[in-house]
């Protein structure tokens, strides 16, 4: 186990990286750059998940999110190939780097209130039980998900996810069909 100083240091560094990269995603003008920033922001996220005792989830974050979902985004951005200066993105260069103050201020107020509530209850929040010995490894996750599959509601709902993904595939294919024609 890592000592608590190193854990705090890693957590602080990765949260700073995460906040900076997420801001870069939101304010970057070029969508390709913004997608790359989002992929980069998944690395500190998965480091935080590792610290939170979830190595499998951290690996899923890299493999599924950065590998598959962001790949889809990059593919579509390359297909649409929007040029930022031609206005195809709907964002003219005049409004570049301009902060939308009403939304910014109201989100800041919401953030201050939420963080204040979290800090106010920090003594209650921080007294939890420590996790079990083999918490978060793949064996115990699969034990939770697939133990006694006939009577386990988690197994059923996990399998229902595959139907949701199937519906997503069918919807995506039927949206992108040209009207009347083949494919």
């Amino acid at each position: 186990m890592l000592s608590s100083n190193i854990v705090s240091l890693l957590f602080g560094l990765s949260s700073i990286c995460l906040v900076i990269l997420s801001l870069a995603v939101v304010v970057a003008f070029n969508p390709v750059r913004s997608t790359l920033m989002l992929i980069a922001s998944f690395l500190p996220t998965s480091l935080v998940y590792l610290l939170l005792g979830a190595p499998f989830v951290g690996i899923l974050q890299i493999l599924v999110y950065a590998g598959a979902i962001m790949m889809l985004f990059t593919f579509v951005i390359m297909m649409v190939n929007p040029k930022p200066e031609s206005g195809e993105l709907g964002e003219s260069t005049k409004t570049k780097n301009r902060i939308n103050w009403p939304i910014f201020v109201s989100l800041c107020i919401a953030g201050i209130l939420l963080v204040w509530q979290v800090r106010l209850r920090s003594d209650v929040l921080n007294l939890g039980a420590k996790p079990a010995q083999n918490f978060g490894d793949i064996a115990s996750i699969s034990q939770l998900l697939f133990n006694d599959p006939m009577n386990n509601p988690l197994t059923v709902s996990f399998e229902l996810m595959s139907f949701l993904i199937l519906i997503g595939i069918i919807a995506a294919v039927s949206f992108s069909r040209k009207e009347g024609g083949q494919s």
């Binding site: 969508p31 939170l52 889809l72 921080n126 949206f175």
Partner: protein
């Protein structure tokens, strides 16, 4: 450096969620709106995992919800991006402002 506690993890998650909200409300390109939703979901997932670690260390239910959440995110990205592609094929831009007037075009 901040201590590794539940309240600090929740603060990080709230900050990421609000950054995603800012992008969702201010960007005008439909692809950027979908990317901001991914940032927002990232904050939500962090809440699941951190509550699971600090308050419920016996079962990995938060990890399970994380898996459901990335499944939903994948489906949402696939359907949203295919709608963006169809929209781009018909209108040759992906601006939010024009997309919100779609029903007026039909009339």
């Amino acid at each position: 450096m901040p201590d590794f506690t539940l309240s600090n993890c929740l603060t990080l998650a709230i900050v990421i969620f609000l950054i995603g909200c800012y992008g969702l409300l201010t960007r005008r390109s439909l692809i950027m709106i979908l990317l901001s939703i991914e940032v927002l979901l990232n904050g939500v997932n962090m809440v699941f995992i951190s509550f699971n670690y600090f308050r419920w260390g016996t079962q990995e239910l938060g990890h399970y919800f994380f898996m459901l959440s990335i499944g939903v995110a994948a489906v949402e990205a696939a359907i949203g991006l295919s709608m963006v592609l169809v929209y781009f094929r018909n209108y040759h831009n992906i601006s939010r402002d024009q997309a919100s007037r779609l029903s007026e075009d039909m009339a």
